[in-house]
């Protein structure tokens, strides 16, 4: 299949574009544009056109169109895709339309429901004459919803494709290929025929047989209900597991952010406390510095005093350890307390008198010197203690400054991580995961119970069938009907068996093709295994599951998408938003190589086609080189000078805006071959 023309009107940022590539050769289309120019809108418009999936209300009706319209005026939001279905030229025109009306308050209201029109023509040119009566069914047949992810791919999600979506996607794809619903339907129709025949038999063969048949039907209904409930439970379980995995990946990407809000709050408290400590330490430091400064000034202003004190000490002129008056009193009493005779004229008394006279001279000055010296000593001691305090306070300031810096850095890192994420959303996700764990446990238990009930019901059904056989014996017409009923039962059983066989066969074919392609790209002995639970595992030559880089995961998603097209004979184009994402240069080169093979081959009697929607950081002149042999059709979504944020327009070639900068400028000047 090959899209020839896409027209989008009043859809999101795209006010009106008409992309007609019918006359252009090539199967690879590059639609480029900077962020916000409408690439994702383009894909979203196609999704709405084919599947009716509306984007968020703010991204649906073009705000530009709404602004331009007068109150009461109607606005048509529409997307038309013209696609050549096969090599016979069968072409389809797929159009989806929603009418809006501008209200008096400036808002918009819908006028009627969205309309889908599919028209076909038998050749690539001319009018679309055949208007299909059931367009939804036609689209469902050629573009099955279950394979939507392989039609409209999101490169950003590709790296996680095999972690999150693939199980469901592979299962959907395999079931779609095997057309399992059809076999299911055949089985159900045949079971229904069997039941109708049994009812007739029971009526022909009497009350007892009729009664047993009623029980039989009730038992069959119970089994069907159990089966449906079980399937519903399994689907719910699978959905919940998928969601849990999705949440786990999101949370692991935002590792450590689960309690970010609390941590931020705590960090702010911690910062306040460190800042207070810092302020206090700074104040103490300043006070201590001032006090010590004054002490220092005092101490340093008495150098002469210190000199005099030292001299007085050396000359033994400092006050004696006893009072001269007290000694004089002893002399008056003529007897020392130690019993020495101090009678006048005595040797000891004379000697003591001389000593007292000497001390009486130096005592006054000595006392002053001594007191002052002691005060200076005290000041020096205080200064020493003060310096210790100053050092302590300085250390405290340094510590609290470092603490502040550390917590601020930690907070900034957390804020940076949180920049694109809402902390409360993360908390909600963590809560949701807890809830999912409980639901999963409950569902597993319920499903196991249903399986056991189903086994018991099957056993009872077999018993009833035997009883019915006995009760309905003897009537010739009934015997003929019995043969028919048995036959219908056998066809139903075979249809169910073939359904399982088909799924396994397709699974094996995908597995083989996938292994071959991935191994060839990785130049290694990788083997891909699709388990019975549709899990896609990549194994190395020793049969161990291997960890893949994000680029390899993307390549794996591409390969899977291509393999599906080959195995299913799936003809629809591959439309990828942000196709290179995490792919480095070697992987881009590999992708180009793989695509060149893929796009050259015919599929289901029609051409293949791929659309890459790329932004300027992923599409560079160097990337362009890899795809040169495929001669891509290049188009771009450009900003509208007047309505930059609400309207984009389409051009062909490289956006002239790009050519003004960096590599594209060099390319335009011929500096990049």
């Amino acid at each position: 299949m090959k899209i020839n023309r896409i027209e989008i009107a009043n859809f999101g940022i795209i006010s009106e574009i008409s992309m007609d590539i019918s006359s252009k050769a090539g199967s690879l289309v590059f639609l480029n544009g900077r962020n916000g120019r409408g690439k994702t809108t383009f894909q979203s418009a196609l999704k709405w056109c084919f599947y009716g999936d509306e984007p968020e209300p703010t991204k649906f009706l073009s705000s530009f169109a709404l602004n331009e319209a007068k109150p009461g005026q109607t606005i048509n939001t529409g997307v038309i895709t013209e696609i050549v279905m096969d090599n016979s030229g069968l072409t389809a025109h797929i159009e989806r339309l929603q009418v809006f009306q501008k209200t008096e308050s400036g808002g918009a209201k819908r006028v009627g429901q969205p309309q889908l029109i599919v028209k076909t023509r038998k050749s690539e040119k001319g009018a679309f004459t055949d208007v299909l009566a059931n367009p939804e069914a036609w689209i469902g047949n050629y573009f099955p919803r279950r394979l939507m992810d392989f039609f409209l791919f999101d490169g950003e999600k590709m790296k996680n494709f095999f972690d999150l979506k693939v199980k469901g996607a592979v299962e959907s794809a395999v079931r779609e290929i095997a057309n399992v619903d059809r076999f299911e339907n055949i089985a159900n129709q045949m079971s229904s025929a069997e039941a109708t025949l049994n009812r007739k038999i029971s009526k022909l063969t009497g009350a007892k047989a009729e009664k047993i048949n009623m029980q039989l039907e009730a038992q069959q209904k119970l089994l069907v209900d159990l089966y449906l409930d079980y399937q519903k439970g399994e689907a719910e379980l699978s959905g919940k597991k998928e969601r849990k995995e999705e949440i786990s990946v999101i949370l692991s990407e935002r590792e450590g952010l689960t309690d970010a809000a609390e941590r931020l709050k705590f960090m702010e408290l911690e910062l306040t406390s460190h800042r207070e400590a810092n302020t206090q330490a700074t104040q103490d430091f300043q006070t201590e510095i001032l006090t010590n400064g004054i002490h220092g000034l005092l101490v340093s202003s008495f150098p002469e005093l210190r000199k005099q004190v030292s001299l007085a000490k050396a000359e033994d002129r400092l006050p004696p350890p006893f009072e001269p008056d007290r000694i004089l009193k002893l002399l008056d009493e003529q007897l020392c307390i130690c019993g020495t005779d101090l009678s006048p004229g005595g040797k000891e008394a004379e000697s003591l008198k001389k000593l007292i006279e000497k001390f009486q001279v130096s005592s006054i000055l000595g006392k002053v010197l001594d007191t002052t010296s002691k005060q200076v000593d005290l000041l020096e001691q205080k200064m020493a203690t003060g310096w210790k305090v100053i050092e302590d306070k300085n250390r405290a300031i340094e510590k609290s400054t470092k603490d502040i810096e550390r917590v601020e850095a930690e907070r900034d890192r957390l804020l940076e991580k949180l920049q694109d994420h809402d902390a409360s959303e993360i908390r909600l996700l963590a809560q949701e995961r807890k809830g999912l764990d409980k639901s999963i446990e409950k569902l597993i238990s319920e499903n196991a119970t249903m399986l056991a009930q189903s086994e018991a019901a099957t056993h009872k059904l077999e018993t009833l069938k035997k009883e019915f056989e006995l009760a309905s014996k003897g009537n010739a017409e009934a015997e003929t009907l019995k043969i028919q009923a048995v036959f219908a039962g056998e066809v139903a059983k075979s249809a169910r068996q073939i359904h399982k066989i088909a799924i396994n066969q397709v699974r094996t074919r995908i597995q083989e093709s996938f292994t071959e392609k991935f191994s060839s790209i990785k130049n290694g002995k990788f083997r891909t295994e699709i388990t019975e639970n549709f899990e896609v595992r990549t194994l190395n030559e020793f049969g161990e599951e291997t960890e893949l880089s994000e680029g390899e995961k993307m390549m794996k998603a591409y390969i899977f998408s291509i393999v599906l097209r080959e195995v299913i004979n799936l003809g629809f184009p591959l439309i990828v938003d942000t196709p290179f994402g995490r792919l480095d240069s070697p992987n881009r080169a590999q992708l180009a190589k793989m695509l060149s093979v893929f796009l050259k081959e015919e599929i289901a009697g029609s051409d293949r086609q791929a659309f890459f929607l790329m932004q300027d950081t992923e599409y560079t002149p160097y990337t362009k080189k890899y795809f040169e042999t495929l001669k891509p059709i290049e188009a771009y979504l450009a900003k509208d000078v007047k309505f930059e944020n609400i309207k984009s327009s389409l051009g062909y070639g490289i956006d002239p805006d790009w050519l003004l900068y960096e590599a594209w400028k060099d390319w335009a000047e011929g500096k990049i071959g």
Binding site: N141, Y142, N179, V491, I498
Partner: protein, 50 residues
């Protein structure tokens, strides 16, 4: 895919008896026509009588 080739190939490549393969092929034909219960019942009567 739209012409039921894939599911037909599963039937023709299966190990079922020729009679069962024929019955399943005819069922697929009924599926293509979006046939209802009466057509299936008629098919059962027709095939089981052969």
């Amino acid at each position: 895919m739209s012409d039921f080739e894939v599911i037909r190939s599963f039937v023709s490549n299966s190990d079922f008896s020729e009679e069962m393969k024929e019955a399943l092929m005819q069922c697929i034909a009924l599926e293509i026509q979006d046939a209802g219960p009466t057509e299936y019942l008629n098919l059962v009567k027709k095939l089981s009588g052969e």
